[in-house]
């Protein structure tokens, strides 16, 4: 049995995207900047992809900038707003404690350049409170950046409410929508989003390509200097096959979104119910306000990496926020941000379901996780101490 349950990490390429990319590489290999027909044909393909992507999020095509992925888009949006803010003496940024590292590390860098950063609490349920965003905004705030949906615990943020707050206070609002673009319906107009980052490989598109939406009139400075591509905001010959693949994958994802959301929500809730039967376990993040395929758990008395390796042996690909999987001594900052203590955060498991997963997969995952957790607990000194009362159960 082979079950891919790590769709938040990446997704299998859509056949429609592969076909579109193959055609593009064979026939539309011209440089969109060239004036002859082959170049102009490539330019046409590029602009068609831009229009398709723009329409999905209710943006104008001129507000879409192609990038190498979500991280680049995050970097560019945050740096642009910061640079414009600094010119006006505004050097305060509001964000959250559980952002992706593409955001957090950019903010850390800005701190060394004189910026002040307020990281908002995300509370036990993993959801930012719009009133706390409002309270954090100061006269010198140049940007609010809050992710659309969290990559580890899948919680969906009140983006529309945060957008309204930022609009009322006239502060630019960026959202890292890498996990949300595709699975969720996004409307940058209704939600008052000024900058939005997205990545193709999270919605069955190719890796190494993404886009940044930047509302007309907001500051946008290039990270990469050179030619006049992307209206002088992103130099370098466009990754046309990647862009075409991204547009095709997004189109397909949007077409099947409603049915897929309904189907995945049932699978997700069954998986949550099944894993909840494991004693001394807990779901991470709000049970309902989460991405349709996201299930994140902590199991007391075990460590996440050994759990992942044993699940891999059973054919299940999953992920964990344990220190051993992060390559550092600390477990995931997301789990710590929602108040999980180190001891518990080490025993985390993230399962993210997607297009290929079936109800049978879910039953197999439940049975496998139950087996593996029981096995690891059988020789865990922590579990022994918890059982004997020497340590107190947290979950």
């Amino acid at each position: 049995m082979k079950i891919y349950a790590d769709h938040a990490a990446t997704t299998a390429m859509s056949e429609a995207a592969i076909e579109a990319m193959t055609r593009c590489m064979r026939e539309e290999y011209g440089n969109p900047s060239s004036l002859y027909r082959l170049g102009q044909q490539a330019k046409e393909v590029l602009e068609k992809a831009r229009e398709e992507i723009a329409s999905v999020i209710h943006a104008d095509p001129r507000e879409i900038y192609f990038t190498s992925g979500g991280s680049e888009a995050d970097n560019q949006a945050i740096r642009s707003a910061a640079l414009a803010g600094k010119r006006k003496g505004k050097t305060h940024i509001v964000s959250t404690a559980f952002e992706h590292h593409a955001v957090l590390h950019t903010l850390a860098q800005l701190k060394t350049e004189g910026f002040e950063v307020t990281l908002l609490d995300v509370h036990e349920n993993g959801i930012v409170r719009p009133e706390e965003v409002e309270a954090a905004i100061r006269p010198d705030t140049c940007l609010v950046t809050v992710m659309y949906a969290n990559n580890e615990i899948g919680t969906i943020q009140p983006i529309r409410e945060i957008g309204a707050v930022c609009r009322a206070r006239q502060v630019p609002f960026h959202t890292d929508a890498v996990q949300a673009a595709g699975p969720l319906a996004i409307d940058v107009q209704a939600e008052n989003i000024d900058y939005l980052s997205a990545s193709a490989h999270k919605f069955h598109g190719p890796k190494g390509v993404g886009f940044l939406y930047a509302r007309k009139g907001v500051p946008l400075s290039p990270l990469i200097n050179g030619g006049a591509q992307e209206r002088n905001r992103r130099a370098g010959t466009e990754n046309l096959p990647g862009i075409v693949g991204m547009a095709a994958a997004l189109k397909e994802t949007v077409a099947e979104r409603d049915a897929e959301t309904a189907r995945l929500t049932v699978l997700r809730d069954r998986l949550i119910a099944g894993l909840s039967e494991i004693p001394h376990s807990a779901l991470n993040g709000d049970a309902k306000k989460r991405l349709p395929g996201n299930v994140s758990f902590c199991f007391e008395g075990i460590e996440g990496e050994s759990l992942l390796l044993l699940l891999d042996e059973k054919g299940i690909s999953a992920s964990s926020g344990s220190a051993c999987t992060s390559g550092s001594l600390d477990p995931s900052h997301v789990l710590l941000a929602i108040g999980r203590v180190h001891d518990v955060a080490h025993g985390s498991l993230r399962l993210t379901l997607g297009r290929e997963n079936t109800p049978e997969d879910v039953e197999y995952i439940i049975a496998s996780v139950k087996d593996v957790v029981a096995y690891l607990r059988s020789f865990s000194p922590v579990w022994r101490d918890l059982q004997s009362g020497k340590l107190k159960f947290i979950l």
Partner: protein, 129 residues
């Protein structure tokens, strides 16, 4: 390409000497749950020889594999030899560990040394009473 060597995976998937010795002559425990690794070693010692050894580990794959390998390396060995066990020897026996996992082999060495200290304490206690 895998994360770990075949040896590590073998000892992780089929750990040797797992469990508890209820009437152990020495017990060593190192690490803490906050860091994500705890190892506990139980030794049975007769005439200066480790006649039996069991372990319990809370930790990642390489922590479990290091514990398993370390127990195999000291079982049936005289204490003089057990004292000389190093984390390098455990790592080598496992055909290497990724750089950020070397601390797991250190933990195995420390768990055994902690058990030996416990044994010496118990011996000293027995002599004085």
């Amino acid at each position: 390409m895998a994360l770990y060597s075949e040896k590590v995976m073998d000892h992780f998937l089929h750990p040797r000497n797992v469990g508890v010795i209820e009437d152990a002559d020495a017990v060593g425990e190192v690490g803490n749950a906050k860091c994500g690794d705890i190892m506990k070693m139980y030794l049975k010692i007769r005439d200066g020889i480790v006649v039996d050894v069991k372990f319990e580990t809370f930790g990642c794959g390489s922590a479990i594999a290091s514990s398993s390998m370390a127990t195999e390396m000291i079982k049936g060995k005289p204490l003089s030899e057990v004292r000389k066990l190093t984390n390098q020897a455990v790592t080598e026996a496992l055909d290497g560990l990724p750089a950020h996992k070397i601390h797991c082999s250190v933990l195995a060495e420390e768990a055994i040394h902690s058990a030996l200290e416990d044994y010496e304490r118990r011996q000293a206690g027995a002599e004085t009473t």
